[in-house]
């Protein structure tokens, strides 16, 4: 498995993601520059967190027009694996690779904290090493993570089992309180119908070592590394 981590101007989790994939998980990993038209034959593209283009205009909106995104769209349409983390998730929404949009967090403040997320779908390339109902402890760090889809989309993504993670408490209970940013259906992670493009607001790369408080995020990368045939 060869990973590519995209660098947009303003990305700031690019090095973190690269470090975890390369140093912790010992995977072949390369950076992909947003201005180039080259995905360098990677098997999985990661759009990392950060503030691409300063989040000016709208989170992820300008990055969606980067030259490399043309290749990314084709790659995704052909079934290539794409994971968008935090700002990367926002870019995927802006690209139209995932449905819906993000609003400001419900308390109108940036939120950085550990949260718990419950696995809702363990049959994806990104989660097949987890078990449905399993609770993962992973940090979030975002201003616009309040997922907001049109009503018909909610029906659709539920029908297609596209909700991958929901915010929960440590025991896996879903509640208004545990839904820190106010997302519709407590959605923390979402996959496309075809099952090859996933976006999530929590940062699995920040939860990949015990020293940093949790290694629950590794299972997502480990799932990708052993993707379903």
């Amino acid at each position: 498995m060869k990973f590519g981590v995209v660098i947009f101007p303003g990305s700031n989790c690019d090095y973190d993601t690269f470090y975890v994939l390369k140093e912790i998980l010992k995977q072949k990993t390369t950076f992909l520059w947003h201005k180039e038209h080259d995905l360098k034959n990677v098997d999985c593209v990661i759009l990392p967190g950060g503030f691409s283009y300063g989040d000016y205009l709208r989170s992820g909106s300008i990055a969606a027009f980067s030259p490399l995104m043309q290749e990314l769209k084709e790659f995704a349409l052909k079934g290539g694996l794409v994971l968008g983390i935090c700002n990367g998730f926002q870019v995927l929404l802006e690209l139209g690779l995932l449905p819906g949009a993000m609003l400001r967090n419900k308390n109108l403040k940036f939120l950085c904290q550990f949260v718990h997320i419950r696995v809702e779908n363990d049959k994806t390339h990104f989660t097949h090493k987890t078990k449905e109902g399993q609770v993962l402890k992973i940090p979030i760090a975002h201003f616009d993570g309040n997922y907001f889809p049109p009503p018909e989309t909610i029906q659709e993504i539920k029908k297609n089992n596209q909700i991958v993670f929901r915010y929960s408490d440590a025991k896996g209970q879903i509640s208004e309180e545990a839904n820190v940013n106010g997302s519709a259906e407590s959605i923390a992670g979402l996959i496309n119908k075809e099952g090859n493009v996933m976006g999530m607001m929590p940062h699995p790369e920040r939860a990949s070592e015990v020293l940093l408080g949790s290694e629950d995020g590794r299972i997502i990368f480990e799932s990708i590394i052993n993707k379903i045939d």
């Binding site: 303003g10 470090y19 140093e23 967190g49 503030f51 300063g54 940062h203």
Partner: protein, 735 residues
């Protein structure tokens, strides 16, 4: 026409003006006067503080760079160095809290990456007026959002800091920002303009009219005509700065440049003259070539502009194209605006004419230095005397009150707005005694802390200075880190008032003594005078930033209790000291008494013992006793434990129970130890001549303290924790 009025408007005295004329051999034009007004301002020249700052110890075997550069540098082994500095952004944050704080972050980060280091941590020390006043709430909300908005976007984690609330900051909040970066020891860059003929490049954002007179603004007292000063505050663009960071580090990694300096306070003026001065060279620039955001700017405005996110680079002559290519990759301007010259002159051209022709030496090195008059303040006599106080009836109530006082209450409402986990190094979340950052692929970690209790410094400036250093080092000792370097931010009132000058002199003396005792060098810092509004001065407010090193990150210790049934041990001694305590302030509304005393040698012994016990693996948790005293310290150990483990204590000291519970006697640390290690721990303490008393056990879900067999505190951990956790969110809750 330069007359008396114009000179005064530039915050220069007539004597200073005459000295300028004499030094440069002519009457300065308005642009030249503007340049002197900036570089001879208190903010840039340290003219009132210099003679006192000389007392601080600046040497040490690991010091690579002491004061005088953008930041200090300490060797941390493994071929790496830590680059760090603290700076104030008080005045702008009062006038426009969001932008003031945001550009403070921008400025301190530039100081770090200018030297070639990638910033890995931010901390900030904030001082506000009481939150009962809506204005203070608005300032705090704006400052926190500004730090969050800028720091988060830059991808540098804000991992800690401290906050105090006091009336004296109502019209003069303090925003002190600290940043630290890591650099390979042989790849450090300095502000040098070497090599005659080498091109001078302007990189980053375009120049506008923002921030003109920022440095002179920070060098005068305020009235309440604040609205008019708002245009003096710069506007930050963190996205531009992030690009600038990446582009600068890339240029530095490829060895294309000779020197680099950020344009912070005093913009183009400061960067050109400082770079030339450090190399004994001159610089000639053409303002027509400077990228401009607005039309029709005068040379005066351009030289004084404090537009953010700009740098000045002296490139190697044959590498200019490569430099420009890298900046263009990051969508930034990199324009040649001049070159290095011989002869030590700053020459500035505009519209084909020479508009500035000044000797660099006069601007940078010949500013007058003042030994300002100092006088013991009259308030000390009355304020340090404490009349006998009644004993409280219900200690539970008092503990809850202290836990929910803004200075002691949990600050999660603040740090949740800061990205503190980006860069995947943060081993401790904010809220511990010190922040801990691992160094990737090494066994080591860096521990960082900021400290400075303003009330102690008000009641006894010298002791306040000593305690600020001692407590910061104690914070480090509690996590298992040995201090290796200090940076300080000294916030005071108007130095032209003799009583303020006396406070300054005393605080510096205290800091110097403590740093000498702990054998840690001061590698730089910042002095912020004129923190007066409407004639009211803030309390003397030193903020100490201390950097420490943990040799083996796997041995780090956190403050929360780990297991039921562990022994709770007090290092140090309980004394009957109530002066300057949060207890007196909260319960009796008194900011009085003698501040706690400190014996630096004893303090050092206790800290060294704590470090030794941690490295021997004998310590499960450690937390230092500070504001709110022993009871608050212990309660916090319960709150910070994952399982919210309670405790039960039996104290035998024959002193007033309120002083015992809430007094702020120094040199105390509460540790826990497994029972199988207890004897070893106590034996080691005895050997090191440190007083260690077993005072109780962890366990249960209650906070229980008995004094001479009377139960004086008995609360549920959850109830107490709620008071501590919810106090600040409650204040900011939208009703």
């Amino acid at each position: 026409m330069i007359d008396k009025k114009v000179i005064e408007e530039h915050n220069l005295t007539l004597e200073e003006y005459e000295k300028i004329v004499q030094l440069i051999g002519k009457k300065p034009n308005i642009t030249e006067l503007g340049i002197f007004s900036l570089m001879w301002s208190e903010h840039c020249s340290y003219k009132s503080s210099k003679i006192h700052l000389k007392k601080l110890p600046i040497r040490g075997k690991n010091v690579i760079q002491g004061p005088g550069e953008n930041a200090g540098i300490i060797d941390i082994g493994d071929g790496l160095a830590a680059v760090f500095k603290i700076e104030s952004h008080n005045h702008p944050s009062f006038i426009e809290p969001y932008q003031g704080a945001a550009t403070g972050i921008g400025g301190i980060l530039r100081d770090i990456f200018t030297m070639g280091a990638r910033p890995i941590a931010l901390l900030d020390s904030l001082r506000f007026g009481p939150l009962s006043k809506p204005k203070n709430k608005a300032i705090m909300e704006g400052v926190v959002s500004g730090i969050s908005g800028y720091g988060n976007s830059m991808g540098v984690p804000t991992v800690g800091g401290d906050i105090y609330f006091n009336n004296c900051y109502s019209l003069n909040p303090l925003v002190n920002v600290f940043a630290l970066g890591i650099v390979e020891k042989n790849k450090i860059f300095y502000a040098r303009a070497e090599g005659v003929g080498n091109p001078v490049l302007y990189v980053g954002s375009k120049t506008g009219r923002d921030g003109i007179h920022g440095a002179t603004m920070a060098s005068a007292e305020f009235g309440l005509d604040l609205e008019q000063k708002r245009p003096n505050v710069q506007v930050g663009d963190p996205f531009k700065e992030k690009l600038l960071l990446e582009a600068c580090l890339e240029v530095m990694a490829k060895d294309l440049i000779v020197g680099i300096q950020d344009m912070g306070a005093a913009g183009l003026t400061c960067s050109t003259t400082e770079m030339a001065s450090k190399s004994g060279s001159g610089i000639e620039i053409n303002l027509d070539l400077v990228p401009q955001r607005e039309e029709g700017m005068t040379p005066y405005e351009m030289m004084l502009s404090e537009s953010q996110e700009r740098m000045l680079i002296v490139a190697k002559k044959d590498k200019v194209k490569d430099v420009q290519q890298i900046f263009s990759k990051w969508d930034l301007d990199a324009v040649i605006i001049g070159h290095v010259t011989e002869g030590g002159k700053l020459k500035v051209k505009a519209g084909g004419k020479i508009v500035v022709d000044l000797p660099v030496d006069a601007i940078i090195n010949l500013c007058p230095v003042y030994k300002r008059e100092s006088k013991t303040p009259s308030y000390l006599k009355s304020e340090t005397r404490l009349r006998p106080l009644p004993l409280p009836e219900n200690y539970n109530h008092i503990l809850l009150k202290l836990l929910s006082s803004a200075t002691i209450a949990e600050k999660e409402w603040v740090y949740r707005q800061y990205d503190h986990t980006v860069q995947v190094n943060t081993a401790f979340l904010p809220g511990s005694d010190a922040s801990l950052l691992r160094i990737k692929n090494k066994k080591k970690a860096l521990a960082l802390t900021l400290d400075g209790n303003p009330l102690y410094s008000y009641l006894d400036p010298r002791t306040g200075g000593k305690i600020a250093v001692a407590e910061a080092c104690r914070n480090l000792a509690c996590v298992g880190a040995r201090p290796i370097g200090v940076t300080n931010c000294l916030n005071f009132g108007n130095p032209e008032k003799p009583e303020i000058m006396w406070q300054f002199k005393e605080v510096v003396e205290g800091i110097a003594q403590a740093c000498k005792t702990f054998e840690i060098p001061v590698t730089g810092g910042n002095v912020s005078f004129y923190n007066d509004t409407e004639g009211v001065s803030i309390y003397p407010s030193p903020v100490l930033g201390v950097v420490g090193i943990v040799d083996d990150v796997s041995k780090m210790v956190s403050p929360g209790f780990k297991k039921e049934g562990n022994s709770v041990i007090l290092l140090g001694e309980n004394k009957e000291e109530l002066g300057g305590s949060e207890y007196l302030k909260c319960v009796f509304d008194m900011e009085k008494g003698l501040s706690p005393r400190i014996d630096l040698k004893e303090e050092k012994r206790i800290q060294e013992f704590c470090l030794e016990a941690i490295s021997e693996g004998l310590v499960e948790s450690a937390h230092d006793v500070s504001e709110g005293g022993l009871a608050v310290c212990l309660a916090e150990c319960s709150f910070l434990s994952l399982q919210k483990i309670g405790f039960s204590l039996n104290l035998q000291d024959e002193i007033r129970p309120d002083a015992l519970l809430f007094g702020e006697t120094q040199s105390r640390i509460v540790v826990t130890s497994k029972n199988q290690n207890l004897q070893k721990f106590l034996d080691l303490a005895k050997k090191r001549k440190v007083k260690a008393t077993v005072i109780g056990k962890t366990g249960g879900d209650r906070v229980i303290i008995c004094h001479l067999k009377n139960k004086i505190i008995d609360l549920s951990v959850l109830e107490a924790c709620k008071a501590w956790r919810e106090a600040i969110p409650e204040i900011f809750r939208v009703k």
